[in-house]
Amino acid sequence: MAEQYAADDLVVLLGTPNAESSRLYAMTVTEGDPSWAGALAGVALGLPVYHVMEEPVKVQIAPEVYEEHVALMEMVLESADIAQAVQTVRTNTGQGV
């Protein structure tokens, strides 16, 4: 699927519930993971990856949609740690912040 669309157009959006799994997923879609199965199998994809609770993403989502689908999880999850984890992967893989 990564071949079907222009790299510029694709963005990965995560809904992972903790910092560690967020980091792992972010690494997988940027640097790749040989043991990954399915649509993202084993390729260094270099895709931009964001978590839905990160501020730059959140502000673009319709407030009532965010409220219904994400707000409760934002309250109970370690949102700051999650955002930090994904941001760090972007920085380390040269995506900038």
Binding site: P17, G38, V65, H69
Partner: protein
């Protein structure tokens, strides 16, 4: 980073934000969702 007009790969998790929820969020921001998945690791 603008979501508008982008193609979104929504990787949700059952106990986090699920795939369909991510998709709804992305669409409300003017993006297209090309892959919607929810994972469960237990």
């Amino acid at each position: 980073m603008q979501l508008q007009g982008k193609k979104i790969i929504a990787l949700g998790e059952r106990d986090g934000v699920q795939g369909s929820a991510l998709a709804a969020c992305a669409r409300s921001a003017g993006a297209d969702v090309v892959l919607e998945t929810t994972y469960c690791f237990v």
